[in-house]
Amino acid sequence: MLPEPAHPHGHGHVHHPALAHHFDNLAQQGEASTLGMWVFLVTEVLFFGGLFLVYLVYRSKYPEAFIAGSHELDVLLGGINTAVLITSSLTMALAVHAAQTGHRRTLMWLLVATMVLGAAFLGIKSVEYYHKFEEHHIPGPGFVFEKEHFANVQLFFSLYFLMTGLHALHMIIGLGIMTWMLVWSWRGIVTAEYYSPIEISGLYWHFVDIVWIFLFPLLYLLGRHG
């Protein structure tokens, strides 16, 4: 999705080095990559949408079991993680601004900050996963749950691990993209003229945050007032 290296042309005039041969100008190229990322995010909405549908079906079918499962989750750690992610969206938005205005050092620091916050989220998430492992709340043959909702609480935890796991996978991919963008910024490929790589990486990052904004209340909070 990222642009091609410039091709030598026979036109006799010099193109911007980031302009791919099949585009007329950087504006067209930037619009194309932004639209491409939006379309990709639409597919992501449908991808997670399938999971949310499965969640909603079983939540309405087994409300008590889902409330019981929800009570086992750590709202404090989940809440901290929500704050961490929202802050990372702020640093990401500021990074896009720094890229647009051509502040390379600021851009790099903000990318680093975004990555640190993303890594902190994953760290806290793995602590939560470890607690669930200790409490034998991993669905499957070793699952332990004393109450009467044994089977259906497994459904809750299956969904919990699949939904947060896929979200975490998207975070890891996001960290990879941020590393890539950091290298590009460091090498000076990203400029005030050519900042669309940072912009579309930012779109992706915000999308992954928004998924969590839906996951957190559905998994951690809804049951507590049910």
């Binding site: 999705m1 099949h22 194309a32 990559s33 999971l51 669905p139 497994q154």
Partner: protein, 540 residues
């Protein structure tokens, strides 16, 4: 038709670099189209080989050729290969890849590297699935219904499903590429309503690819998670709901039928206009019919589940919505027919396929109305009537469109003409073989022969032998084009830039086109299909 002195252009995309790397690392959409052409042809013949074995087994009532387990694997692997690795990718990734940039006057798709990457994803998925099929196969049917697929089946469910999962990303990324390209890369003057109708149908198909494919992706992940980690999403023993699987599966897999047939409809619009030398009758209606099919296609999945324990109310709604899809489909058929009315109707090979498409798609579509009616559908559910119906759409529709398009644009792709007499002969053989294969299946299905059984009562043998005989004719029909198309690459007469005398940007550039498609970016001042009113400056 062609100008008297035809020369092969000195510089074109086929001689712009030689050797394996110049193909496997190419970013040229035209070369990638040819990579797809080779790949989908391979998977088509793999899927076809399974069909041969199925029809051989069904030649006798006892099913003497293979065991029932093997038979289960054969129809599963036939379905998986044909649906996911041929019918869904064929027209978009071969003809779409080649034509979308040229038809809008662009140098390439918006994301050429992503386009090449899509081909690699497709190949990895295809080879992965092929490996799973060769090392034991899978017996769930291409529909992977739970809980059989998630709990009971002991065959290679996960590797097959993961192959489909991987290939899905190729569909998504190709669709994304087309959408962005059509939005952002059109040449000056190429407005939406000047675009050839093939682009409208490709655009509509891409919307389905982008919106539907992720849902099958997550469904496959759920099935895999259930098999590996013993989750219970679709397992009633653990509180799961098998019908939920069917909803998720058909939410993609019904629109997938339109992924297969919409691009073929786009091809037919081009063929009919060129073959009748007239503008397509009611252009905006045909264009919007594509979008209407894409939208309505997402709302009818429940008609696959009339016997799966849906509420009567849901069945009623899905039945009405399914009838509605017939409207835009019929708009297209009527408009093609109206285009032919008083047209200079040609009998060239592409037109033969267009006639075939219109006839077979109409039969497939009308029998689809039988199936949208709940009462009748309950009677024929899981019989050969269903098998015949969807083969009329998928084979009679999609493959007729694909072959017609391949013949129409072959001179553009290769720069050479194929043997017209052989091409007409094979088009005829395919049409006859197809009908002999699948028409008896309507009858035998209506009489009550269920699908997916490797033996059947003796009273059905005559119809099954007819069907098997037809399949062998059809197979011959598919092999002949392989031979004369390959032959034409070396020995065919030079085509020149516009052998059919067609309008459309693709015919204004050389055959084969240069790597950047046009030496100068075209400026479009005419509408699509201006056969009766050539515009100044337009090379017709």
């Amino acid at each position: 038709m062609a100008s008297p002195t035809i020369l092969i252009p000195p510089r074109h995309y086929l001689n712009d670099g030689y050797g394996v790397a110049s193909w496997l690392l190419t970013r040229d959409h035209k070369r990638i189209a040819l990579l797809y052409l080779a790949a989908v042809t391979f998977f088509f013949f793999v899927g076809g080989a399974f069909a041969v074995l199925i029809r051989l087994d069904l030649a006798t009532p006892a099913g003497d050729l293979v065991s029932d387990e093997t038979y289960n694997k054969l129809f599963t692997m036939h379905g998986v290969m044909m649906v996911f690795f041929f019918l869904i990718p064929a027209i978009p990734s071969v003809l779409g890849n080649f034509l979308v940039p040229i038809m809008i006057g662009a140098k390439d798709l918006a994301f050429p590297k992503l386009n090449l990457f899509s081909w690699y994803i497709y190949m990895v998925g295809g080879l992965f699935t092929l490996y799973a099929l060769v090392t034991g196969g899978v017996d769930t049917g291409w529909t992977f219904y739970a809980p059989f697929s998630t709990v009971s089946s002991t065959t290679n469910v996960i590797p097959t499903a993961l192959g489909i999962f991987i290939t899905g990303f190729s569909s998504i990324l190709t669709g994304l590429n087309f959408i962005v390209t059509i939005h952002r890369m059109r040449a000056p003057g190429m407005t939406w309503f000047r675009m050839p109708l093939f682009l409208w149908s490709t655009y509509a198909t891409s919307l389905i690819n982008v919106l539907g494919t992720p849902v099958i992706a997550i469904t496959i992940l759920l099935v895999a998670a259930e098999r590996v980690f013993k989750f219970g999403f679709f397992n009633p023993a653990l509180g799961g709901d098998p019908v939920l699987f069917q909803h998720l599966f058909w939410f993609y897999s019904h629109p997938a039928v339109y992924i297969m047939v919409l691009p073929a409809m786009g091809v037919i619009s081009e063929l009919v206009a060129a073959g009748c030398r007239k503008p397509v009758f009611g252009y905006p209606f045909v264009a919007f019919a594509s979008l209407a099919i894409a939208v309505l296609g997402f709302l009818v999945w429940g008609h696959h589940m009339f016997v799966a324990g849906q509420s009567v109310y849901a069945a009623l709604i899905f039945s009405i919505l399914s009838f509605l899809v017939a409207i835009p489909s019929a708009v297209k058929v009527f408009n093609w027919t109206a285009t032919m009315y008083r047209g200079a109707v040609s009998w060239d090979t592409p037109m033969l396929y267009a006639y075939g498409f219109i006839g077979l798609f109409t039969i497939g579509g009308l029998t689809g109305l039988f199936l949208a009616a709940v009462g009748l559908d309950v009677h024929v559910t899981d019989t050969y009537f269903i098998v015949a119906h969807f083969h009329y759409i998928m084979v009679g529709g999609t493959i007729m469109g694909y072959l017609g398009g391949l013949h129409y644009w072959w001179p553009k792709m290769s720069g050479r003409l194929y043997n017209e007499a052989l091409a007409k002969l094979s088009a005829g053989i395919i049409f006859i073989g197809f009908n002999l294969t699948f028409f008896p299946q309507f009858v035998v299905g209506y009489l009550g022969m269920p699908r997916r059984y490797h033996s059947y009562p003796e009273e059905f043998q005559v119809l099954n032998v007819l069907s098997s005989a037809g399949a062998s004719i059809l197979g011959v029909g598919y092999l002949i084009p392989m031979i004369y198309l390959m032959w034409s690459l070396r020995y065919g007469r030079l085509a020149g830039s516009n052998p059919w005398g067609s309008v459309g940007l693709e015919w204004t550039t050389t055959s084969p086109p240069p790597t950047e498609n046009f030496t100068e970016t075209p400026i479009v001042t005419w509408n699509a299909y201006e056969y009766n009113a050539p515009v100044e400056g337009h090379v017709a």
